[in-house]
C-alpha cells in the first residue's frame, strides 16, 4: 500500500490540482477568473511532464565535474555517465510551454479589456444577455423596415 502511494501519489495529486483548474475554467462566469483557472490547468500539465522526467536518486541535469573530462572535445562522442541525471528534454519543452502560456494569457487579458470597454462588464452571462438584447432591438428595427430578421 505504502509503495503504491510512493509510486503514484504524485500523479494523483497532480491530477487533483489539474481538475480544480479545469473546474474553475468551466464554472467561473467572470472572464478573468476563468483565465486564471485556465492558466492553473496549463501549469499542472507542466507539473505532470516534469514529474515524468524525474529519476530517483538522480540530480538536476547539470553535469558534475566527473562527467566533464578535459579534452573530450573531438574524442568519443557518446560518453558513459558517472552520475544519474534527470531527463532534460521535458524540462526544455516545459520552459517553452510556460513562456508561451504567459504570452497567451496576456493576449486573453487584452481581449477581456476590450470586451470590458465594449460591454462594460466581464461576466459571461451579462455579455450574453447584452448580445441578445441588441439582436432583439435590431430585429424589431428590421421588421419595421422590411429587413432580415435573425431571431
Amino acid at each position: 500500500m505504502w509503495d503504491i502511494i510512493l509510486e503514484r501519489g504524485s500523479y494523483w495529486a497532480i491530477i487533483g490540482v489539474m481538475m480544480i483548474g479545469l473546474y474553475i475554467a468551466f464554472s467561473a462566469e467572470n472572464l478573468i477568473k476563468r483565465l486564471v483557472g485556465l492558466s492553473m490547468f496549463q501549469t499542472t500539465i507542466c507539473l505532470f511532464y516534469v514529474q515524468l522526467s524525474n529519476v530517483a536518486n538522480a540530480t538536476a541535469p547539470i553535469l558534475l565535474p566527473d562527467d566533464m573530462p578535459k579534452g573530450a572535445y573531438g574524442a568519443e562522442r557518446v560518453a558513459d555517465l558517472a552520475h544519474a541525471y534527470s531527463n532534460p528534454l521535458p524540462h526544455v519543452l516545459m520552459l517553452t510551454a510556460i513562456v508561451v502560456g504567459v504570452a497567451t494569457l496576456s493576449l486573453g487579458l487584452a481581449l477581456i479589456v476590450r470586451i470590458n470597454e465594449a460591454y462594460a462588464t466581464i461576466e459571461a452571462d451579462e455579455i450574453r444577455a447584452s448580445d441578445v438584447e441588441v439582436q432583439l432591438a435590431e430585429d424589431a428595427d428590421a421588421a419595421r423596415t422590411g429587413g432580415e430578421v435573425v431571431i
Binding site: M40, A72, T104
Partner: protein
C-alpha cells in the same frame, strides 16, 4: 532502509505535500470572489510550483516559473483587473453542478489511467531511457556546456526556441494592436467629447 532510500522517500512525501498545498489554493481560488485575492493567490500558486520544480530536479523550469509565472503573469493580471473590475459576481449554485460532475469524472478516469504509467522516478521508463539520455551523453563532447537543459534549448532544439520566440512576438503584437498605442479607451473618448460639447 538505507539513508539514501529514506531521503528519497521523504523528498517524495514533501513533493506530495507541496502538491496538496496547490490543491488547497485551487479550492480557495474556486471559492473566492475578490479578483485581487484570486490574482495574488495564483501568484503564490506559481511560487509553490517553482519550489516543487526545484524539488524534482527541474531547476531551470523552477527558475522560469518563479520569474515568468509568479512575477510576469501576476503583473499582467493585476493590470487587467485595474482596467476592468475588482470583484466577481456570485455564481449560481446550480450552474456549478455540471462542471463539477465533468471534473470528477475526468479526474477518476485519469487516476484509473495512472496504473499504466511508469512509477515515479523510474529511470528505465521509455521517456527517460530514450532521447533524453542520449542528450545527456553526447552533450559535453558536442557543446561543452555543463547545463544540458541550456544546450538542448539553444543548440539541439534551437528551432523550437525560435518558434517560441515568434509566438511570443506575435502575442505581444496582438496585445498592442488590441489595446492600441497609448490611445484612450472608447468610453473615455466619448466622455471627453461630451465634456467638450458641453463647454462652449
Amino acid at each position: 532502509m538505507s539513508s539514501e532510500v529514506m531521503g528519497e522517500a521523504s523528498l517524495s512525501i514533501i513533493g506530495v505535500l507541496l502538491l496538496c498545498l496547490l490543491f488547497v489554493m485551487g479550492v480557495a481560488i474556486a471559492r473566492l470572489r475578490n479578483l485581487f485575492a484570486i490574482v495574488i493567490l495564483s501568484g503564490i500558486y506559481s511560487l509553490v510550483c517553482a519550489a516543487w520544480y526545484i524539488l524534482v530536479d527541474a531547476v531551470d523550469v523552477g527558475f522560469t516559473e518563479a520569474a515568468v509565472g509568479a512575477g510576469m503573469s501576476t503583473v499582467v493580471l493585476l493590470g487587467a483587473i485595474l482596467l476592468t473590475s475588482r470583484t466577481a459576481k456570485p455564481e449560481r449554485r446550480l450552474a456549478r453542478l455540471g462542471p463539477f460532475a465533468v471534473c470528477v469524472a475526468a479526474g477518476a478516469l485519469l487516476i484509473y489511467a495512472t496504473a499504466d504509467l511508469p512509477a515515479v522516478g523510474d529511470a528505465g521508463s521509455p521517456a527517460n531511457a530514450g532521447v533524453g539520455l542520449t542528450y545527456l551523453k553526447i552533450n559535453w563532447a558536442d557543446t561543452g556546456v555543463p547545463n544540458v537543459v541550456t544546450s538542448v534549448l539553444a543548440s539541439y532544439r534551437g528551432f523550437d526556441t525560435l518558434g517560441e520566440t515568434v509566438v511570443v512576438f506575435i502575442a505581444g503584437l496582438a496585445v498592442v494592436l488590441l489595446l492600441g498605442f497609448g490611445e484612450r479607451a472608447l468610453g473615455e473618448t466619448l466622455r471627453k467629447r461630451k465634456k467638450e460639447d458641453e463647454t462652449p
